[in-house]
C-alpha cells in the first residue's frame, strides 16, 4: 500500500515533468535574444490584429486577457487602480484582467508572469519592480506584450529594452517627477513660513528610489529656504548622493534656519516604530509633518491638531475626509485613471497597432500627480477619480488613443493635470 502511494506520486510527478520538459523554449526566463521571440502561448493573438487595423477603434469581438502584476495588493493606490480596471475598463472593453497575488520578491514576479503566460494572457501590465529586466525578457521571449504602469525604467534599462518588440513602454512619474513632488510639497509649507519639520521616510531605508528622490526633494527645498546644507549637500544630485552615502538612514538636523526636528523611516509596524512616529509627531517644535508616502497611515494616531500634514499618495475616501477635517493639508496623489492610457497602448499593441516613438522605440512618458491643498479640490478630484461611470479617462477619451500617433499619445498623457483632463474630456 505504502509503495503504491509512492509509485502514484512519482508517476504523477513524472507525467508533469515530461509535459513540462516538452514545452518549447523559455525554461530560461531570459533565453531569447532582444527583439526576437519564440513560439509561445501568447503569440496566437496577433491574428485578429489585421481585422482591428481596418477599424478606427478597438476590436471588441475577441476577449483579450491581460495580466496585472501587483507588488502590494493592500495599498490604497493599488486598490484604486484595480477598481478602475475591473469596475470600469473591464466593463467597457472586451478584456479580462488577471491579477497576481502580492509579489514580495523577484521570484514571485517571475512565477506570476509564468502563470499569466500559461493562462494565455496576451499582455502584462506591471505595478511591480523587484526585477523589471527579468519581467521584460520573459515577456519578450514569450511574445507577450509588457508595459510599466505608474513608473519608469532607469535610463540604462530603457536603452537596453527600448527596441524590444513586445516592450510597449512606461507611463508614470519618473524620478525627476518624484523629486519635484517632494520639493513642491516642502516648498508649499516653507513659503508659508514654516521652518520646523518632521519627516516620514517610508521605504527610504530600504533603498527605494522613488522615496529617496521624494525625500531628497524635500531636503533640497529646506536647504534653499534655510540657506543651509543637509549632510553637506544642497542640490539635487548632491542630496541624492548624500542620502545613499548615509546608507539611506536619515537623521534630524538643522538646515540653516530650517530644522528637520524628527525623522522616522521603514515599515516595522512594531511598538518601537509607532513610538518613534509618536515622538516625532509629539515634538512641540514640529510644525509640519511631511511624508514621502503613507503619511496618513503612519501619523494617523499621533498627529497633533496644530500640526500640518503633507503626503504623497493617492485619492481615497479617507484622504478626502482627512482634508475636510484639516488633518491633511497637502496631497500629491496619483489618480486611478492615470493607468488608462497604458491600458490603451497595450490593447492597441495586442491588436496589432503598437504605439512607438519617433525612433520606432517603446515610449517612456512622464506623468505627475494631482495636487490638492484644500478639501474642495480633494473632493472634486476624488469625485471624478472614484466614478465608475465617468472617471477621469473615459472610454471615449481612451478610444482616441487606439492606434494613435506617438505625438498624439504623448500629448494626451502629458496633459495629466485635473484641469487639462477636464479640457480633454470636453
Amino acid at each position: 500500500m505504502k509503495n503504491g502511494m509512492k509509485l502514484t506520486a512519482l508517476l504523477m510527478a513524472l507525467v508533469m515533468t515530461l509535459c513540462a520538459c516538452g514545452t518549447k523554449g523559455n525554461e530560461s526566463t531570459a533565453s531569447a535574444a532582444p527583439g526576437t521571440s519564440t513560439e509561445a502561448p501568447g503569440k496566437s493573438t496577433e491574428a485578429p490584429a489585421t481585422t482591428a487595423a481596418e477599424k478606427t477603434g478597438p476590436d471588441d469581438s475577441k476577449n483579450v486577457k491581460i495580466g496585472v502584476l501587483v507588488s502590494d495588493v493592500t495599498s490604497a493606490e493599488a486598490l484604486a487602480f484595480r477598481a478602475y480596471y475591473e469596475e470600469y475598463i473591464q466593463k467597457q472593453y472586451n478584456v479580462t484582467f488577471m491579477y497576481s497575488d502580492e509579489l514580495a520578491d523577484a521570484a514571485a514576479e517571475a512565477s506570476a508572469i509564468d502563470n499569466f503566460i500559461a493562462n494565455n494572457c496576451k499582455a502584462i501590465i506591471s505595478f511591480a519592480s523587484a526585477d523589471r529586466p527579468a519581467q521584460i525578457e520573459t515577456c519578450e521571449s514569450n511574445g507577450v506584450y509588457y508595459a510599466v504602469a505608474t513608473g519608469t525604467l532607469t535610463d540604462e534599462q530603457y536603452e537596453t529594452y527600448k527596441n524590444y518588440k513586445y516592450y510597449v513602454g512606461a507611463i508614470g512619474p519618473d524620478l525627476m517627477t518624484e523629486y519635484m513632488a517632494g520639493y513642491d510639497m516642502a516648498k508649499y509649507y516653507l513659503d508659508q513660513g514654516f521652518t520646523k519639520f518632521g519627516m516620514f521616510g517610508g521605504a527610504t531605508p530600504y533603498y527605494t528610489e522613488m522615496h529617496i528622490y521624494r525625500a531628497a526633494g524635500m531636503l533640497v527645498a529646506m536647504c534653499e529656504a534655510g540657506k543651509g546644507t543637509y549632510l553637506g549637500a544642497s542640490d539635487m544630485g548632491g542630496m541624492i548622493g548624500a542620502i545613499y552615502g548615509a546608507g539611506c538612514q536619515l537623521t534630524p538636523a538643522k538646515i540653516g534656519s530650517v530644522e528637520l526636528c524628527g525623522y522616522v523611516g521603514g515599515y516595522d509596524f512594531d511598538d518601537a516604530w509607532f513610538g518613534k512616529l509618536a515622538a516625532v509627531a509629539n515634538d512641540p517644535n514640529v510644525e509640519v509633518l511631511l511624508a514621502v508616502g503613507s503619511g496618513q497611515t503612519a501619523f494617523a494616531g499621533f498627529k497633533q491638531a496644530s500640526q500640518k500634514l503633507g503626503d504623497i499618495d493617492c485619492y481615497t475616501a479617507d484622504s478626502v475626509k482627512l482634508m475636510e477635517s484639516g488633518t491633511l493639508n497637502y496631497l500629491a496623489g496619483k489618480f486611478s485613471a492615470s493607468i488608462g492610457p497604458i491600458f490603451m497602448a497595450v490593447l492597441s499593441a495586442v491588436q496589432g497597432h503598437p504605439i512607438r516613438n519617433a525612433e520606432g522605440n517603446a515610449f517612456a512618458i512622464g506623468q505627475g500627480y494631482w495636487v490638492a491643498t484644500s478639501a474642495e479640490e480633494a473632493k472634486e478630484y476624488y469625485a471624478v477619480d472614484s466614478s465608475k461611470t465617468e472617471p477621469a479617462y473615459t472610454r471615449n477619451m481612451l478610444d482616441k488613443l487606439y492606434n494613435a500617433s506617438y505625438s498624439d499619445f504623448e500629448a494626451f498623457v502629458k496633459a495629466y493635470s485635473f484641469e487639462e483632463i477636464k479640457g480633454l474630456a470636453k
Partner: protein, 325 residues
Amino acid sequence: MENEKKIRKENVKAAVFRFAPLGGLILLFGIFMALAVIKDINIPYSFKNIVNQSVVVVVAATGAVFIYTLGSFDISLGASLCVSALIGAMAYNATKSLPVMLLTCVGVAVLISLTSSVLASVFNLPVFVTTIAMLSLLSALALVLIGANGTGDVIQVPAAAVRGINNVWFKLIILAVYLGMCVFLFDFMKLGRREKFQGGNPVCAKLTGLNGKRLAIAAFAIAGVGVGLGAFLTITYAPTLSRNTASSVGMDIIISIVFGGMPVSGGARSKIYSAVIGALSMTMLNQIMLALSLDSGVGQIVKAIIFLLVVSISMSNSKGNILPR
C-alpha cells in the same frame, strides 16, 4: 466473520486516510485539468510552472521532514534560505563560479542550521524558540548584507550567468538527487528509523541508548542541505535578491509538509514524501485560484478551508480520546 469484516473495514478506512493527501493532490490535479480545458490554459506551460514554483519548497521541505520527524519545528528556514542565497550570490559575484555559488549556498545554510541545533542541544534550549530567535537574527542579517554589498536594495547575479541552468531538467536532477538521498537516509538507513523512534517516544529512545542531540544535529544538517539547494535554485529562477527573497518560503514549508500528510508530532508515521505531495498540492491550488480569478481575500479563505479539509481527513485515523497537542 464479523471481526474480519470489521478489520477489513478498518483497513479500508485507514487506507483512505493514508491516501488522503495524495487523493487531494489528484483531485486538485483533476480540477486544474478541467479548468485548463474550460479556460484555455496552456497545460504544458502550466506543468513547467508547477515544477518551477514548487521545486524550491519541495527541496527545502523534504529536508525539513527530518526535523519534523523528531517532533521539532524550525520557523527560520525561509530566512535561512534568504541569507544563504544572498551570500551565495555574493560569492558568485566575487568568483564568477557557479559551483562556488552552489557550495556557498549549501555551506551557509548548513552552518545556520547547525548553529540552531547546536545552540539548542548544547544549551538545552527549546528548538522552536531558538529558531524564532534565529528568524530575527537572519532577517536582520539579510538587511545588513544587502546594505554592505553597496547596491542598496538588491544583490544580483547576472541573469546570463544562470540562464543555462534555469531549466526544468536541471532543477529536476537536483531534486531527484536530493530526494533520493533523503529517501535513502529516511527509509533505508538506521538514521531514519532512529529519527522516527526519537520523535515517537523520546524517553524510550533515550533508554535504548539513542543520542537525541546527535540525531537533532544530523536532522538539522540534512535540512540545511535542502535549504542551501533551495537557495541555489532560487537564484537560478530569479537572480535578483532582496530582503524579501523567500519571505513566504518559511510558512510554505510548514503548510506543504502538513498538507502532505506529515504528523507535526513526528514519529513513526512521518513520511518523506509529504513535502513533495504537499508542495505540489499547494502550487496546484494556487494555479486553480488564479484560473478562477479569485479575489486575494476570498482565495485565502478557500485555501484555508481546503487545507483544513485535506489535513483533517488525512489525520482522521490518528485521533485519540484526548485532544492532540
